[in-house]
Amino acid sequence: MSRPAGEMMRAPLPALRVIRAGSALARARTGTPMRRYIFRRLLQNAFLLWVLTSMMFLLFRVLPGDPVSIILSAELSEESRQSIRDAWGLSRPLWSQYVTYILNVVHGEFGISFQYQKPVWDVLGDKVVNTLVLMIPSTAAAVVLGILAGMYFGWRRGSRLERLGVLLPPIIRGLPVFWLGILLLMAFSYGLNWFPNGGMRSMGTFVTSRWQLFFSWDFLWHLTLPFLCMTITSLPEPMLIMRSSLLETKGEDYLELIEAKGVSEWVVLKHAARGSLLPVMTWVFHMFGYAMASTVVIEIVFAWPGLGREIVNAVNAYDYPVIQAAFFLISAIIISLNLLMDLLYGFLDPRVVVQ
């Protein structure tokens, strides 16, 4: 997969965009320990992404055997196959292919899709945003609501509501995302006809720009069921973590002094909650991997045109360039999001930076 000469540079990857934004934000803040922390984190995550990509390169080269035979018919002579391999750069030594591969990836050059015969980026570019627009709001909602619920259940114990709040999480954790999705469809879409049964927008709607689409009522109407599905299934974890963390923090000495200062109960709770956030945040840093798994499944259930749906389609069509690129993009998104959360938390709790 060599880069044709004279071609325009592809749009920078979402990962690079996010990292750039993050470092700009970071530079605006003061403090050398903070800068060191940010730099360290950026480096670590870039390294992770590189290792991941390299692993992918090896797997894709080693495992399917001869990728060329997938797209070519067996009747072609060995000569013709060899010439095609040469054209694709597949006969060069492995390390040479690897270097080209990495360079291509950094420039957003993913090759040509087997099934669409178009550049992979053209196929996947839009899908990235579609996935993000589904994943991020629901994950954010789940975390915020989960933390609030955990705060409530951790602070007030013994009420009847609390017993429910303790009983539900294990049940919901066991609730498969796809099953909930199907049930929601059965009830609210096919049954009551309140919501559409899939897709991101209705047939025949024309929009001039993507942003206009995302802020339209039609879009929100389509987003509702998938959003609900994801939020509900992602609620239990942050809630449980926050609750147990708050229960532990409740016994801390400084809370006694804070209460003695004559502040309202809400202020005491605020202190306790802030002190309990660390375990929650530790989990939040890594939750995007899990959120992505849910998103992939939900995209299938609701026919949502995102990366998840595309990668599954690609697998069924043996479209290896798309599979590889989609996996890379998904990993890049997750790593960037995790990094962003990590950095954001550094601002919230200065203890993390000093470590």
Binding site: E252, D253, Y254, E256, L257, I258, E259, A260, K261, G262, V263, S264, V267, H271, R274, G275, D349, P350, R351, V354
Partner: protein, 340 residues
């Protein structure tokens, strides 16, 4: 002028098994500007008294009796009322070694929080006050912007004292303020406290297990044992003429740098289990001078003016003092307890 008066205060903690009777019938009075030292072993209830005064007892606590602060009963107040009293009338100084300050917030923020909870003033004014308070306790003003983990133990203790002074309360309760500090730091901290008290006329309740500390720093001393007051008098009187065997034991157990080569005694045994408080005198099992009559609970009586004691045999105190100075007396008591 009486500032605070405890009237038959009882506190019990309800646990899943039995009730723990932490404080049993504690009464004392404190005047404006006066300092009272509350001494006793761990678990004798002195910290519970402090918490009861501020009504920051844990949820499973039940308090009866009265705590009169300038005539108003603190125990009868509503939550809103007691929040007004907290910090403004009574402030707490705790041990700095423990997590006394919230590690996530700057120290100044925590002082400002106390100030703004009670007074309407802008943030900048409150921060200025925090800086002034820091200077008052001998800390650099710009350190208000630092985090608790950046302070050393002694500095943290001063910061906590500064915070307690924020609203100029008439009463400060200091709960083991110097336990985690070395003697030199201890000295400095108390010098600080004395100076401030002299300037502002603040009353002080000093809670500690170290009797030598209260001997130095307090006008009056109350010795507590197993949730009850064993003896209470002015500091000089307690030092010169202790009446209660427990007080005698405590005094003899403290090293006196002037008397080198002196025998240090130790009171063997442990305080009673307060889920099953004993019927008679609570110290009797460990007392070298216990007799049959000690199975009846001794009332707290004013033996001489201003000197209260809960012991049936206060008359014989002089003999007790002489015997109590010998280590053998206490060793015999230890052997007797072990045999029992």
């Amino acid at each position: 002028m009486t500032l605070v008066e405890l009237d038959r205060l009882k506190v019990k903690f309800r646990t899943s098994r039995r009730d723990l009777h932490a404080i049993d019938n504690v009464s004392f009075a404190l005047s404006e500007g006066e300092s009272l030292g509350l001494v006793g072993e761990s678990g004798c209830g002195k910290t519970t008294v402090a918490r009861a005064l501020l009504r920051i007892l844990p949820g499973n606590a039940a308090a009866t009796g009265r705590i009169l602060f300038r005539g108003r009963d603190l125990l009868a107040m509503s939550l809103d009322e007691i929040r007004q009293v907290r910090w403004r009338e009574i402030a707490l100084v705790t041990q700095s070694a423990m997590n006394a300050l919230d590690p996530i917030y700057r120290v100044g923020t925590q002082i400002v929080e106390a100030v703004r909870a009670h007074e309407r003033c802008s943030r900048s004014v409150a921060w200025e006050r925090a800086e002034r308070l820091f200077k008052l306790v001998g800390l650099k003003a710009e350190w208000v912007r630092r985090y608790p983990h950046e302070f050393s133990g002694g500095m943290r203790q001063r910061a906590i004292i500064a915070m307690a002074l924020a609203l100029n309360p008439p009463l400060i309760i200091a709960d083991e303020p110097s336990t985690a500090l070395d003697v030199i730091m201890q000295d400095q901290v108390f010098a600080e406290i004395d100076r401030i008290r002299a300037e502002r006329g603040t009353a002080l309740i000093l809670i500690t297990h170290d009797i030598s500390l209260v001997a130095e720093n307090c006008d009056r001393i109350a010795v507590m044992y197993a949730g009850q007051i064993a003896e209470m008098a002015s500091a000089n009187v307690i030092l010169e003429r202790p009446l209660h065997p427990y007080t005698i034991g405590l005094l003899n157990a403290s090293a006196d740098i002037a008397h080198r080569g002196m025998d240090l005694i130790s009171i063997a045994g442990a305080p009673p289990d307060l889920t099953h408080p004993p019927a008679g005198c609570r110290f009797a099992p460990r007392c070298p001078f216990a007799r049959a009559k000690c199975n009846e609970p001794p009332p707290l009586v004013e033996h001489e003016e201003g000197h209260w004691v809960a012991c049936h045999f206060a008359e014989e105190a002089q003999a007790f003092r002489r015997a109590g100075a010998e280590a053998s007396t206490w060793e015999a008591a230890a052997a007797a307890t072990a045999a029992a």
